[in-house]
């Protein structure tokens, strides 16, 4: 007797796979409610000491020292925006990097890799959910932060939002490469910890890049995120930018293409290596 398969690949089913993967991640994310809540409150907890420290440096609510660097005395709005970016950085480093690894440990990675869907597509699907859930938690966090510490955007929200897009896409492209590398390593935690911390530190999330000792500034200038955050702050808070905003935007767009393509390449290469070495499913 002949068996007829039910599998009929088409563009429609490829798109549906993407959607289904995103939906699965969404469901699983919210089924760890403590984790979701933590995502919202952790950033607030971390910037509270900064808020009070800032008060120790301010007279009449204005941090004049800070204003000399950034062009605005409103350091909390400055930092809140940085914290939103930190959220995305952490999600990409921990979420993307560790997501595949956790799947591997749990045993479901093999199940996913046995399906006739491209493995990069699987990664892209997870990216979509990640982008969405992180945006949601960031906005909630921003809302709470605004209520607690004050958030006064005086500039264009639309421009800031549009700038965020290539920056985030580029960041996630980097995430592809990172996910691949994490797959190969047995104990990636330290790499992720230190990596995410350094990126946060050098991209200006907590303090203006200009205030760094002069010999460290070049490191910051090499990170595309620095320009992205700078441009967003420039648009929203009318702070001084490192370079003319237009140039920063061009840098971001180039970064986005390079990272998306490069990240995919690295991921493919690594994935091939995993298939040769058979580290899948074993840890």
């Amino acid at each position: 007797m002949q068996i007829t398969t039910l599998s009929q690949p088409s563009l429609k089913t490829q798109l549906r796979s993407l959607f289904v993967i995103a939906r699965k991640d969404w469901k699983v994310f919210w089924r760890y409610p403590l984790n979701a809540v933590s995502n919202v409150f952790q950033p607030i907890i971390w910037i509270t000491p900064v808020y009070f420290m800032g008060k120790a440096f301010s007279t009449n609510g204005q941090a004049t020292g800070f204003a000399a660097y950034s062009g605005s005395g409103d350091y909390m709005s400055y930092i809140l925006l940085g914290t939103v970016l930190t959220n995305f950085i952490l999600t990409v480093f921990w979420g993307m990097g560790l997501a595949l690894k956790e799947d591997m440990d749990a045993g479901v990675l093999e199940s996913n890799w046995l399906t006739p869907v491209s493995r990069l597509l699987i990664l892209v699907g997870r990216t979509l959910t990640s982008l969405l859930t992180t945006t949601i938690t960031s906005l909630v966090m921003l809302g709470i932060g605004a209520a607690l510490f004050g958030f006064k955007p005086t500039g264009s929200t639309l421009a800031a939002f549009l700038t965020a897009i290539p920056m985030l896409l580029g960041l996630y492209g980097f995430g592809f490469a990172f996910a691949g590398i994490v797959l190969l390593m047995r104990d990636a935690n330290t790499l992720i910890d230190v990596g995410s911390f350094l990126v946060q530190g050098f991209s200006g999330t907590n303090f203006p890049v200009k205030s760094l000792p002069y010999w460290l500034i070049p490191v910051s200038l090499m990170l595309p995120l620095t320009y992205g955050l700078d441009a967003i702050r420039g648009f929203l808070l009318k702070t001084n930018t490192l370079m003319p905003i237009n140039i920063e935007i061009i840098i971001l767009i180039v970064f986005m293409f390079v990272m998306l393509w490069g990240g995919a390449q690295i991921f493919y290469r690594v994935e091939r290596r995993v298939r040769k070495l058979g580290t899948l499913g074993q840890h």
Binding site: L6, K27, A106, S111, L114, T115
Partner: protein
């Protein structure tokens, strides 16, 4: 389109080995090559390799149940992983449903339903139904068809009552059933089942074996790995015995047993066993493949051996055993089972 459901030709898989665990040959190479000077850091030293699969040939017919039998570490899992495209062969080729496992990997995946690592292969934070709907989409099953298929399988696998509960709350048996349903979703012509009854209670295992027989009736080709003899014997049309990376025998269960038909198996139960007695017994003509196994913690040993002629061998056996604190508690002469075939071929027990 190939005639065979699965065809493997000289499949080889080598892994980089940790020092001391590699094959003797490559370790020898690595050790005897002249030590490079410290400043020659760019020259690569030959790496020691461990060969998990050493030239496996398989030809599985459409519609048959093929059992791959072998102890742990024999290369069963590695072979299966190469066939389902999770692992790339070092050399050799394999075709599944006519597609090459390396060059046409996606087509292979579309043609296969796999059961690997049972309960760990599904999402615990999703319900049974959600798991099936998810994977159905990944197998490119158009949505309206997928919905019906998922319901059909939930019904068949007796998961209806709890299909909407999270898998983390299911028993091991239920999780296994979800994993099997997942393998059947796209109605694939070929099924790969890796140790499907491992960890199941006897009743669940029996139900699963019935299912496998049904699936064969429905036209599926099934490649099954197991280390349960009786299961392989009962279900398979043909069996391949694999040991240290090679297929050492391939035949129907009856055919395999016929190989040692002229032999009989003598099973003894003994107390006060000494290894010297084993040596003496082995020296009796016609006695081969002596295996001893201690029964738990007690001073009771099970001794199996194969004999060409039990009638002449028995008096000599009794002679050697009596005395010196050794006592024969029980003796049985039986027809060879598949396990005995295995012992005959490899000199070791399956459950080592």
């Amino acid at each position: 389109m190939s005639d065979f459901a699965i065809e493997a030709t000289q499949l080889v898989k080598k892994f980089p080995a940790r020092p001391g665990t590699g094959d003797k040959k490559t370790e020898g190479e690595a050790a005897s090559s002249p030590k490079k000077k410290r400043w020659q850091f760019w020259k690569k030293e030959p790496k020691a390799l461990f060969t998990a699969v050493d030239g496996v040939d398989l030809q599985i017919q459409r519609g048959e149940i093929f059992g791959l039998l072998g102890p742990n570490g024999a290369g069963k899992s590695t072979t299966i992983r190469m066939l389902c495209t999770l692992l790339e062969p070092t050399s050799g080729t394999a075709r599944v449903n006519g597609f090459d496992v390396v060059k046409q990997a996606n087509d292979v995946r579309r043609s296969l339903g796999t059961l690997l690592a049972g309960e760990r292969s599904i999402y615990w934070k999703l319900s049974g139904r959600e798991n099936l709907e998810y994977f159905a989409a990944l197998y490119h099953i158009p949505q309206p068809i997928a919905k019906k298929r998922v319901e059909e399988l939930i019904e068949r696998m007796e998961l209806k009552d709890r299909a909407n509960e999270l898998v983390e709350k299911y028993s091991t048996g239920m999780r296994q059933r979800v994993a099997i349903a997942k393998a059947l979703l796209a109605r694939p012509p070929i099924l790969l089942l890796d140790e499907p009854t491992l960890g199941l209670d006897p009743q669940a295992a029996r139900r699963l074996r019935e299912l496998i027989a049904e699936l064969k009736q429905e036209g599926h080709t099934i490649l099954l790995t197991t280390h349960y003899m009786e299961e392989a014997d009962q279900l398979s049309d043909r069996i391949g015995i694999i040991d240290t990376g090679k297929v050492i025998a391939l035949d129907t269960p009856a055919g395999l047993k016929r190989r040692i038909e002229q032999k009989e198996v003598i099973k003894l139960e003994v107390t006060g066993w000494h290894d010297e007695i084993g040596e003496k017994l082995k020296s009796i003509t016609g006695i081969e493949n002596l295996i001893t196994r201690q029964q738990g913690e007690a001073d009771l040993w099970e001794v199996n051996m194969q004999a060409h002629n039990s009638r002449t061998a028995i008096p000599r056996i009794v002679e050697h055993i009596s005395g010196n604190g050794t006592r024969l508690v029980n003796m049985n002469i039986v027809k060879p089972s598949l396990e005995d075939v295995f012992i005959h071929l490899t000199g070791k027990a399956l459950r080592d």
